[in-house]
Symmetry: C2
Subunit: 274 residues, 2 copies
């Protein structure tokens, strides 16, 4: 028997209450959010050991299956970014939005909604107030706005922490519209932005998990720039292939069916019967 560490989840307060009482469709309208898949709360350490808080944007199809955020492509790239800071275990991630954004502009439209912020701020309070977090990394503009809004609250004003907003890890996919040249250009821009972010963040991380020789990103994403999601970040029993690669898809012959469907496919090299 191999040992499989797992994320123990939300038994301890204040997370238990945060995961029992969360905003639903009254706060996240179904026209702009995929509320039908339920909220996805976090990934990483909830035991106070986190040194870096990552704020993402919203969960997608891989996340509603694993019930942890940032496990798909964006998550594996973010994990690689943390690795370059020497942060392999001491992090915790939350999103600006509890539900997947549906359609264009849904995130923008609700970026400043008071009820969304009120709940999110309770998470940021729990993760940042009185803790030992040394830096906050926001992935993209909406995540940055979420942090800045929290920083204006009485609790936020009391917390001294380095803050860096970097380009969202799948911004190139979103902006390129399938055009390979625009994609390459967007990736180049993102990686330059990440290298600058790493430079500024490094002095703030006084307690990394590992002292790592800082290798900057190149001009394009390589396999090494994706880091597998650590086993201990996911719930008990999830298979290893759910922590790397892409394996969940939204599919359907009509827009309604596509919104209603997630197809999970075991990757070819993870099929033990073949």
């Amino acid at each position: 028997m191999a040992s499989h560490p797992f994320d123990p989840g939300y038994e301890q307060e204040p997370f238990r209450s945060l995961c029992e009482d969360y905003p639903g469709e009254e706060t996240y309208p179904a026209d702009d959010f995929r509320v039908e898949w339920g909220p996805v709360f976090h990934r990483g350490r909830l035991d106070g050991s986190a040194r870096v808080v990552v704020i993402g944007q919203d969960p997608a199809q891989h996340e509603v299956v694993t019930r942890r955020i940032l496990v798909g492509a964006a998550g594996q790239r973010a994990q690689g970014f943390l690795a370059k800071l020497g942060i392999d275990a001491s992090y915790v991630m939350v999103n600006a939005f509890l539900y997947s954004v549906f359609g264009q502009g849904g995130g923008e439209r609700h970026a400043d909604d008071a009820a969304i912020a009120a709940y999110r701020n309770r998470w940021l309070d729990a993760l940042l107030v009185g803790g030992r977090v040394e830096a906050v990394v926001a992935l993209g503009r909406l995540a940055g706005r979420a942090f800045e809004a929290w920083k204006q609250t009485p609790a936020g004003r009391g917390v001294e922490v380095a803050f860096e907003r970097i380009t969202h890890p799948t911004a190139p996919e979103s902006s390129a519209g399938g055009d390979p040249e625009r994609y390459a250009e967007a990736v180049r821009g993102m990686l330059a932005n990440w290298n600058a972010g790493l430079e500024r963040l490094r002095p703030a991380i006084r307690h990394p998990d590992a002292d790592r020789d800082p290798v900057p990103y190149g001009e394009a994403l390589t396999d090494a720039d994706y880091a597998a999601i650590p086993e201990r970040d996911l719930p008990a029993g999830l298979p290893a292939w759910m922590r790397s690669r892409a394996w969940a898809d939204r599919r359907g012959r009509t827009p309604d069916l596509k919104r209603a469907t997630v197809v999970v496919t075991v990757p070819r090299d993870a099929r033990p019967w073949m």
Copy 2:
């Protein structure tokens, strides 16, 4: 905000260790078990409050998405059976097998495997030794054999508990081969078996959650014979539709693709955008 109780999972020992160290492909061969989806461990109370232990057979497609056992049709029928005993919350369920059985006879072939039993017995020890369980209900023959094997162990011999093996809740589907008359006949037989089981179990349940007027099953399954899975049985954040009806399917153009795929579809009446 509505309150959404959830299952806190496996943070507490001995369950933490049981969910960290579990048998894999060396014990459950991939030709007979769908090891690629990972193990699914349990459903229900792990805090010692269970009065009834249910032993099921193996997880299927709904279970690998929710990561709790007996949530699909078999689970909703079993939940209805417990309700007739007045047991709404004080139960815990484990399966004979940690992984989904693949193909015909896979379960039979491994019914007496020592390594499978050794791990399963650790769960039964944790749930039954020194506890306050009043009855064990096995769903089907393989589940019954699992209990009887445990009862032969030193720990099992020391435990006094009522035991009843009833017909597996989806045995009619398995045996009827799509023939409506054979199905109706098999359901009739199952419900008669369940009524007899209820009669024998009732005196053993000295501490039901509710004193319920015993209404026996009829000749066919009605909607009332399915009970929704309680919200507190599933991990945090799962949408309500995952606790009732059928919503997960194995599909694929080839046998390989079918084995590799689970399609999750939000039921029509749970699509808030429509």
